[in-house]
């Protein structure tokens, strides 16, 4: 998907329109969205101008990968890589909904070819490799294609000695690819460890939700780990834990703030400050001379 299409893609996102007459191409003043935090209605235009952060309660709404790239990369600098990698259906999965159908639906819905976009970009003038996951695409779960794109992002960063910035959002492994999906955890972790050995910086930004095999692999192997306010970040989902331990979970469990307190995240950063923060971090973290 070329960069020029993204603004359009952004327009096409499906919020919860209070006004169901919403027209995609040209938003009239009367289009509202409802904040999932405080439940108040907000002009969609104001909401988007505020980067989908509720002006009232600060709730960060989920955003898609193209929007994420727009928010992080310096204008006009993003050049997508590996855009032609997409999932095969290696196991011919038909349990529940056939995987092939799910893939087609996801592609049609998102205009993307997979659950992650990667490419070269600049952030605050720093040349980087940038990747952003898109939860709309089968929960941005990590199958072979996502694993391959992430691995290539690490390899590109290594080859060009560019810092890597990855924005995660994922339901975890893509079970429709069975054990091949599990193995992507090892593959991406190996690529991350290899980048670290070469002294190239890697900053990860965990957004809502990041879970399972993505959390337990490349996502947390970064030099600096940032997260958006309120983002849920976990290995095991809360329902499974509740079923196992037969008690309810503490308030705020598995939020970004909870994880900061427990020592796993460097900082919770407001989306509106993310680009500046990443840029500043990259001022400090220079790819070491090997």
């Amino acid at each position: 998907m070329p960069i020029s299409d993204w603004f359009q893609a952004r327009e096409e996102r499906t919020y919860i329109p209070v006004d169901s007459q919403r027209s995609a191409a040209d938003l009239p003043d009367g289009v509202w969205v409802k904040c999932e935090g405080c439940k108040k209605t907000i002009y969609q235009r104001d909401f988007e101008a505020n980067l989908d952060v509720c002006p009232g309660c600060g709730k960060h709404a989920d955003i898609d990968a193209p929007t994420r790239v727009l928010l992080l990369a310096d204008a006009g600098t993003f050049a997508e890589t590996e855009a032609d990698i997409t999932s095969a259906d290696p196991l011919r999965w038909t349990s529940g909904k056939p995987y092939a159908t799910q893939l087609e639906t996801a592609k049609a819905k998102t205009g993307l070819t997979e659950g992650i976009i990667t490419g070269r970009a600049a952030i605050g003038g720093h040349p980087v490799v940038l990747g952003a996951m898109d939860f709309r695409f089968i929960g941005a779960s990590m199958g072979s294609a996502v694993g391959e794109k992430i691995t290539r992002a690490f390899e590109l960063a290594l080859a060009e000695r560019r810092p890597l910035v990855l924005v995660t959002a994922s339901g975890g492994a893509r079970m429709q690819e069975g054990v091949l999906s599990l193995m992507q955890m090892a593959k991406t972790s190996a690529a991350a460890a290899r980048l670290a050995e070469a002294g190239i910086p890697y900053v990860s930004i965990l957004t809502n939700p990041t879970s399972g095999g993505v959390t337990a692999s490349f996502a947390v192997l970064a030099d600096v780990i940032l997260a958006e306010p309120g983002a849920l970040i976990m290995f095991t989902g809360p329902r499974v834990i509740e079923q196992t331990i037969r008690q309810s979970l503490p308030k705020g469990f598995q939020t970004a703030e909870f994880l900061v307190e427990h020592g796993f995240i460097d900082a919770v950063v407001d989306r509106r400050e993310l680009r500046d923060r990443v840029s500043l971090l990259l001022d400090y973290l220079n790819p070491g001379g090997e």
Binding site: T86, S144, A186, K187, S189, A216, T236, I241, G263
Partner: protein, 322 residues
């Protein structure tokens, strides 16, 4: 062997065995028909088991892999290795008994050993958390990986877990971080790594010590991105359709060999490894020794580069429309 546990699909065998046991309790002297019936039943049991086990379904294999009498990591360590030294603790929070870590000697080779450690019996299982490690277990494993790497000691791992323990403490103490750090360390470890799937191989908790240069799978062991029950719960809001999704998950030893992820299968006797542990232990020993031999003589750089290439090849995607 006392029959304490019957797997669903072995019910027909169990019924015949009950019948046989009842007959055996009778006085057969001067009752040639009874004796003949006993003989016939014994043959029937063997034949039925052979038939059942000649084409076990994925879900049936999962059940065998979980059989309580199945040989456990501890059995392998005690039988295969001499001069075993257990090394405990993560140097940060605790010692997790669900994860064994140590050193041992196998056929004259000195190796480091890691393994998920299920207990035998309820008490031991509780202490070992049914083989489901918490962050401490993974951090201990990582520490021993690093020790092995530092001193050039090959690593052998035994996989037998449903996965990392899904509890509050696990999340609070960063189980995802602990697993990821294991993976980063293990995938770049400059010594030969041989992994053996002896029973369950559930998700990230298995993977954390389950990536290496060779993967040996017992015939009825599984290695899966998710347990069939959990997968069924997600797809159908109902864990009881595990038998349907198990084959789709490509989790059996055969699946893994077909996908190029496992290198060899150690056959199990009809009825599963617990029916003849000695033969299985001997076969595993042979396979591990052979694998270690194959991996000898590489430089540290070669080992790491080959493991990366092996991992790099994992996965099937489409590219450029192909």
């Amino acid at each position: 062997m006392a029959r304490a546990f019957v797997m669903e699909f072995e019910r027909p065998i169990a019924e015949l065995e009950d019948k046989l046991a009842a007959l055996k309790r009778l006085d057969v002297s001067g009752e040639p028909e009874l004796a003949a019936e006993i003989d016939a039943l014994q043959v029937a049991i063997i034949k039925l088991r052979d038939t059942l086990y000649s084409s076990l379904s994925a879900w049936e294999r999962v059940q065998v892999s979980r059989h309580p009498e199945r040989p456990k990591t501890q059995d392998y360590i005690e039988t295969l290795f001499t001069d075993v030294i257990e090394l405990r603790g993560d140097r940060a929070f605790g010692d997790d008994e669900a994860m064994f870590a140590g050193l041992g000697t196998l056929d004259g080779r000195r190796v480091a050993i890691l393994g998920h450690r299920k207990g035998k019996g309820t008490k031991e299982n509780i202490r070992r958390n049914f083989g489901m490690p918490q962050p401490e277990g993974f951090r201990k494993a990582r520490r021993i990986m690093q020790l092995a790497g530092r001193f050039g000691i090959p690593l052998v791992t035994f996989l037998d877990t449903q996965g990392a323990y899904p509890g509050i403490g696990s999340e609070e103490r960063g189980v995802a971080w602990a697993i990821a750090e294991c993976l980063a360390t293990l995938t770049r470890l400059p010594v030969p790594v041989v992994c053996v799937g002896i029973g369950e191989g559930g998700s990230g908790g298995a993977l954390a010590i389950g990536v290496g240069d060779r993967l040996i799978m017992l015939q009825n062991a599984y290695y899966s991105v998710i347990t069939p029950e959990a997968c069924s719960s997600i797809l159908f809001k109902d864990p009881s359709r595990a038998c349907e999704v198990a084959p789709a998950l490509t989790m059996t030893a055969e699946d893994l060999v077909r996908l190029g992820l496992a290198d060899e299968i150690v056959p199990e006797p009809p009825g599963g490894a617990h029916r003849d542990p000695a033969s299985v232990l001997i076969a595993v020993r042979e396979a591990v020794v052979r694998s270690l031999g194959d991996l000898e003589g590489q430089s540290r750089d070669e080992i790491v580069a080959r493991r990366y290439a092996r991992l790099r090849a994992v996965g099937v995607h489409t590219e450029g429309g192909v």
